[in-house]
Symmetry: C2
Subunit: 397 residues, 2 copies
């Protein structure tokens, strides 16, 4: 439920209500003024006033009249956000390279690309991001409003600084400042999982949920927490380290994860480890793709690996369900290439371990997976920021 929030005086009542109206238009699709008024308990007069401002500034437009609703009376005029007035760029950084996407302001991907990274030191990465951004910009037919960058590790969102990223080997890198200086466009930096959570909250399944969780499966296991429409990072950041939660004291080993942790069961590494151990003739250099391939061809031993994977996933989800009692968990990440293979055992285990009927009230959503999903998350950062900032900046100009 959207409510008008963060009231008051200097940072005026107006900007507040403007933001709330905009949020309603964004989240509840094409919507009439009278609906907005009812939803926000605001007078129709105020809505007219506010929306005319938003329309004038090009953020919102009158899409069409509402022909669905019959009955007498004047037709409602439906308002919609002008998502195509600008585009934004999103770049996800990992040691595997840069994944880049250009999207509109609704985080719909217009184009995507991947750039390998020779090294992951800050200088190289900054150079590569600048090059990738230039390439994206040249392919854009609309003004490129902002750049979102996401990466694994601890990020200080306010200072746009990477506090600590083991995977990249970074500490205290002021990435936002470095890029902003070179690109002359506003840059946002965020943890990769939190960016994905934000993307879901603004443009994905979370659009209609106030609080929900995002679980990412891939090289590692991540958790994004959204509560009351805001991404929860913890008082000092660092929340959502689901991958490091201990599941079994005497659990299996993996190259990177501590034994028995969630990642020792659910990371790509773990999957390959199990395949090597249990799938007959699995080659030494085989990867996740091969396990998926074998299973999809119906190889029983490979299917068993996925069944166990699903069981561990279900157990992990049960932990979250018992703690958060969420109405939605979005599953995403490369680890879901074979979502169908793990789903049934995951759900069975979740039902078995969740308290009471909590499991019945959870919607499990699978984010259709593509290479650009992470980059889309990064772009969503930029899109959401751009929308809020221009929607609220009010009558100063």
């Amino acid at each position: 439920m959207i409510e008008r929030t963060r009231a008051t005086a200097k940072d005026d009542v107006r900007s507040l209500n403007q933001g709330a109206v905009f949020q309603v238009v964004h989240r509840h699709g094409p919507v009439s003024r009278i609906d907005i008024a009812a939803r926000l308990q605001l007078s129709p007069a105020a809505v007219t006033n506010i929306t005319s401002d938003l329309i004038e500034r090009g953020l919102v437009y009158e899409a069409r009249k509402d022909d669905e609703r019959g009955g007498v009376g004047r037709r409602r005029i439906l308002l919609e956000v002008a998502y195509d007035t600008a585009s934004v760029a999103g770049i996800k950084v990992s040691n595997a390279g840069l994944t880049c996407a250009l999207t509109n302001l609704n985080a719909e991907v217009l184009s995507a690309r991947h750039e390998p990274l020779p090294e992951t030191d800050p200088d190289t990465v900054v150079d590569a991001i600048c090059a990738a951004f230039a390439a994206l910009r040249s392919g854009a037919d609309r003004p490129l409003a902002a750049l979102g960058v996401s990466l694994p590790g601890l990020v200080d969102v306010d200072r746009q600084t990477v506090r600590h990223s083991p995977l990249l080997g970074w500490d205290q890198v002021p990435l936002g400042r470095l890029l902003q200086e070179r690109l002359g466009v506003s840059v946002l930096v965020e943890n990769d999982v939190d960016a994905l959570a934000l993307a879901e909250a603004w443009f994905g399944f979370g659009r209609t949920h106030d609080s929900f969780l995002v679980v990412t499966l891939g090289r590692g296991v991540g958790l994004g927490i959204v509560m009351n429409g805001e991404v929860y990072r913890g008082p000092n950041g660092g929340a959502g380290e689901l991958g490091h939660v201990l599941l079994e004291a005497n659990g299996p080993r993996t190259r990177y994860a501590a034994p028995g942790t969630v990642e020792s069961f659910l990371s790509d590494d773990a999957l390959v480890r199990e395949a090597r151990a249990r799938v007959a003739g699995f080659p030494e250099d085989g990867g996740v793709e091969l396990v998926v391939d074998l299973a999809e061809r119906g190889r029983d031993d490979a299917l068993d690996v996925f069944e166990d994977y699903g069981r561990a996933l279900g157990r992990t989800l049960s932990l979250l369900v018992n703690v958060f009692a969420p109405s939605l968990i979005v599953l995403s990440g490369e680890g879901l290439r074979a979502a169908e293979l793990v789903l049934s055992s995951a759900q069975a285990e979740l039902r078995r371990l969740a308290f009471g009927d909590l499991a019945e009230h959870v919607e499990l959503a699978f984010e259709p997976w593509g290479d650009d999903a992470w980059a889309r998350g990064a772009a969503a950062l930029a899109a959401s920021r751009h929308l809020t900032e221009t929607a609220i900046s009010a009558r100063g100009d």
Copy 2:
């Protein structure tokens, strides 16, 4: 950080700012008008206006001048909440009986009592609560503003109804309505752990934290989640079922808890089970008190039981720390009779299992334990509600 929130027009801007100002006075102790203005980014004039209203209505008073701060200039006049203008009652219901407390509006216990319950059916309990309330009322020297009732189980806070309580054997009991009709005073019903979390947020350690966790140890294991100053119950309630999280697939059995769950390690039952198994000559009918007693006398085998208990506690906390990265965890409940005995192994295990340096940033607080702590939580419900309602009810009367 308190911010002025939930703005707008019909439910006026004023009530909003009034609430925010009141919150600052409550949370930041005796505080001057100028401090309030700075903290809320509100003009001094507005603060004068608002506080004079609060003072007139008897919610706040001018405590004294600030003599601590030296320097030139007029002394600041410190404002404080008038906590002693009314009292509230709190009653915690469990199958062991009613625990009752009378407190002022700062949740400071004025008197407490315990009533045994012959049966736990709704009629008996309602009768008993009414009797207990009458007893509390007769002992009060100030008007008794409201009654808070807390109990284990799933509570619909808005409808003041107990949706499901296995321990009491209740389903869909409209407890709030039943009591309100008979007592003619406003009644609040809440889950026991959430009430405790609210109490900590308003009147305890959480007063200076925006987000934190409360873990209760006793017959069961509970979790209260406070985020951004609000108790999180989940979209449909039922959040915080920490006790039912599976720790070890092949974990120990207990009478009530599923094998391997947190409660199978950390409930009172679990402690007694371990004592029976490992403490030489432990009597068949010995309880928790006896284990504590033996350990405090230095019996090694009893101390070992507590060391293991602490280890399981540390592991459970590590789970929460990895997920929430909280800055504060408040530990409370009967299970902490022997807090010193479990602390060191708990902290060691927490440090071992928490990701990176997350454990270093967590403050573990032990709520000094007494019989009336649960009842104080229930009273805090009533106190917080009374304060917000009278503080915000604005200029209508």
